[in-house]
């Protein structure tokens, strides 16, 4: 696989021949006497990775992304810290069966690679490969937060209407969160001339069902007074999922109308904040579990239910297919909600068609930024 992404001459195509080679490969898929193969593409998807290892992982996900939302995928591998090598390209055309196999379509991928100073030249190559009249998306798959990426991100996102990134596993979450919140405003406002742009965090998308379940748990219709009585929120998460937990807390506290007071971090163990409300101080803790999958493992809210001291525990079931609300202190059956499988590729595929600015996300990020600053 590595050689397919790098400089093995068997796989390389001169940049000026990329389109021609794609067309040739596409025509080769057409059987004798068969109807022409159609290109399936709803968007331009530019994916940036800054290491070969990561590119190999992403490369394996691209077909799944294209199955959800067909796109011209341009996988851009830029390794600035490696020995310089020029921009190279390889192309792949993959058949897709649609309409139950009655029609043939194909998805196309171009993989660009450069190292050293030549990384700066990748945006030129990308510019030439974008297809007009299709929405352009940049998937910033490098592990560093986009605002810390420098001019390369700006160049690659020049024509992008959506920048997708994944805060899962950021090395310095506090710094990353602080920088990203203000970057979001900037990146969306920098576009001119009637253009628009939106930035999306895949981690936020992962929280979709958690947020939905929390809203239902605290819904005054089913749990009168619960929302006002929440006194402490504890979110436990597996390694690398701290920002996911953090974003959920930011969203929840915003919804509850709490105002940030102070914050404190115990390195590698817990981040804690105190919020002020008309009903007194409220506490939020984000706790890291030593092992397990990189996701939220439990949300515990201490509150009052039916006039009794109680707690709500929101946990994923073992299958991972459902989320459940378990109540402490009151007698009630667990309530559950189905959670469709969400692979990274599936998330990207769904996000490609979801281009609306999410006000809840932006408000939560503003809160999260305040929470980050309280820890610095």
């Amino acid at each position: 696989m590595t050689e397919m992404l790098t400089r093995d001459p068997d796989y390389l195509v001169p940049l000026r021949d990329v389109e021609r080679t794609l067309t040739r490969q596409m025509k080769a898929l057409q059987g004798p006497g068969a109807a022409p193969v159609q290109r399936a593409r709803m968007a331009n998807l530019v994916i940036f990775c800054n290491s070969l290892e990561q590119a190999i992982l992403i490369n394996a996900q691209v077909p799944e992304v294209e199955a959800v939302h067909p796109a011209r995928a341009i996988l851009v591998v830029g390794e600035p810290s490696r020995e310089e090598c020029d921009v190279t390209a390889r192309v792949t055309v993959r058949p897709i069966n649609i309409a139950g196999g009655r029609a043939h379509a194909c998805a196309e991928q171009v993989t660009l690679h450069a190292a050293g100073a030549a990384v700066d030249r990748l945006p030129f190559a990308v510019r030439a490969l974008l297809i007009g009249d299709l929405p352009t998306n940049l998937w910033w798959a490098a592990p560093q937060p986009p605002p810390l990426a420098g001019p390369l991100l700006l160049d690659l996102s020049e024509n992008a209407q959506q920048i997708m990134y994944d805060s899962l596993g950021w090395v310095n979450p506090v710094r990353g969160m602080a920088a990203t919140a203000s970057w979001l405003d900037r990146i969306e406002q920098e576009v001119r001339g009637g253009r628009w742009r939106v930035a999306s965090d895949l981690n936020w998308r992962r929280l979709k069902y958690w947020r939905r379940l929390l809203m239902q748990a605290l819904d005054p219709a089913s749990a009168p007074g619960a929302a006002e009585s929440v006194s402490e929120v504890i979110v436990e998460h597996g390694p690398h999922a701290v920002i996911q937990a953090w974003e959920l807390c930011a969203w929840l506290t915003r919804r509850l109308g709490w105002r940030l007071h102070t914050g404190k971090v115990s390195e590698g163990v817990e981040m804690a904040w105190v919020f002020s409300t008309p009903h007194g101080p409220r506490y939020v803790r984000v706790r890291r579990l030593p092992e397990g999958p990189p996701q939220i493992r439990r949300v515990r809210m201490t509150c009052t239910l039916d006039g009794k001291a109680a707690a709500m525990n929101l946990v994923p079931e073992e299958s991972g297919r459902r989320l459940a609300i378990e109540l402490e202190g009151v007698d009630a059956s667990p309530r559950t909600m189905s959670v469709p499988p969400q692979s990274a590729a599936e998330l990207i595929g769904r996000q490609l068609s979801d281009r609306e600015r999410d006000a809840a996300f932006r408000e939560s990020m503003t809160t999260a930024q305040g929470m980050a600053q309280s820890l610095l």
Binding site: R39, F124, A125, R127, D133, L134, G193, R355
Partner: protein, 547 residues
Amino acid sequence: MAIELDASATPRELTQAATQHMLPQPCQLVIFGAPGDLSWRKLLPAVYNLNVDGVLPSHFAVVGFGLPAEGDVKGDPDEWIRNRARDGIQRFSRQDLDEVHFADYARSLFFVPGSFNDASAYNRLKARMEAFDQQFGIPGSRVYYLAVPPTLVDMCVGRLKSAGLVNNPDEQTAFTRVIVEKPIGRDLDSAREVIASVSQAFAEGQTYRIDHYLGKETVQNLLVLRFANSIFEPLWNGKYVDHVQITVAEEEGLAQYDPDTCEMIATRAGYYEGVGALRDMVQNHMLQVLCIMAMEPPWSLAPDVVRDAKIGVLNCLRPMSEQEVEKYVVRGQYIEGDVNGKRVPGYRKEVREAFAMMKKPLPSGSVNSTTETFVALKLFVDNWRWAGVPFYLRTGKRLPKRGSEVAIQFKAVPHILFNDHPDVPLEPTVLSLRVQPEEGLSMRIASKLPGPKVRIYPVKMEFNYSSSFGGQTPEAYERLLLDVMAGDATLFMRRDAVESAWRFVMPILNHWETHRARDIPEYQCGTWGPIEADRIIEPDGRQWRTL
């Protein structure tokens, strides 16, 4: 004019048949400047393809005339041009070289070496052409293709006339026609001079001013799209069209480089420097395409009826004042950048190296050349149909990719049902006609995404000539050469059209001349032009398209 007839038709149907089309007539195609680049890349391969496709007249020959850059031809001149043709076909032809077809082509391909200024060379040319008439049964009919620099046009037509090589314009069988390549002059006055000098030897009806863009299938399909479909023409006006963008993007710069040694191997600097994109592209190709896009329905497809409709557009172009030139026109010049993964030099460096390669002194004005390699402009067609609709034109060299298109963006729907939310953009409907590469058209429309919520997503419906019709689309030059042989001038520029187009661009040229910029806006090779180009479109709440 020869008409192809349907043998099964009755006499009345024969004269009224709607499917008549003109056939190329027996003739000799005489290429002035046959050793040159245009002939090598385009003309000789085009004639080969016509031969392979079986559309050339059976009584036909090609005669090259001129001198190669290196001087005299060594060996047999006919073999020399045949080898040159073989090389051009191998490199540039849309159909692979087939030895059987090539042998047939080569036996009617000849070369007469000689200087355009040498009267005796014309006598030799005349003698050989008369011999070819005998050999191939050609009735003395000639098509002269002047693939020569504009400065030589006057000399060539004068010599042709003096040598008795131009027949009476009324002559139907032994006709004489001349094809004149762009540029027709470098301003209105010089264009008139060129037109006048050609007209001393050739009548307007014998003169075919070629613009190869008009030979593109997509450009011709514009007529079909507009006038053979009922859904477009009712929308083709300022009531429904928000704006139009015409883009001609070139990936290539002034020079070509050897991919291995990176040394300059060919250059257009001698022609392009001091000419620039406005003269090279806008005044002819782009305005001609604009005409077809914007013209009123012609009442027939007869050449002069279509050309009358086109000139109607040119005559309605709103002349630009000095202030409007400042406001609506932006030029630029490329600087070092990146194309196809290779570092490429800026324009000025290319000009310096080109003149050095040609062993010519660099003109003093070219030391810090301000020749524009990019131009973007906004113009208006002041007639009932297009009142208030801006037309944005943009062309440049060393842009990220090669591509030409006409894009018609329709007006937004009322902000009531679907696009009243400022954060949910509803991309406008766009009809885009691709002229090159991959000729075809596409339409972007809004569609609902599957699912319980109403979410709108832009989808693109595409029609591509090569995948829909299979095979290969003929090159523009093939079509246009056939048209000249058939005497069909529809796709060629009439004298008044040339003058009108020049009249429109003159205020821009004059303004640039009187306000000489020390430096003009720059753009990196491999980008979509200078950032200044945005200022003519973005204040209108619009943006340049991504091709």
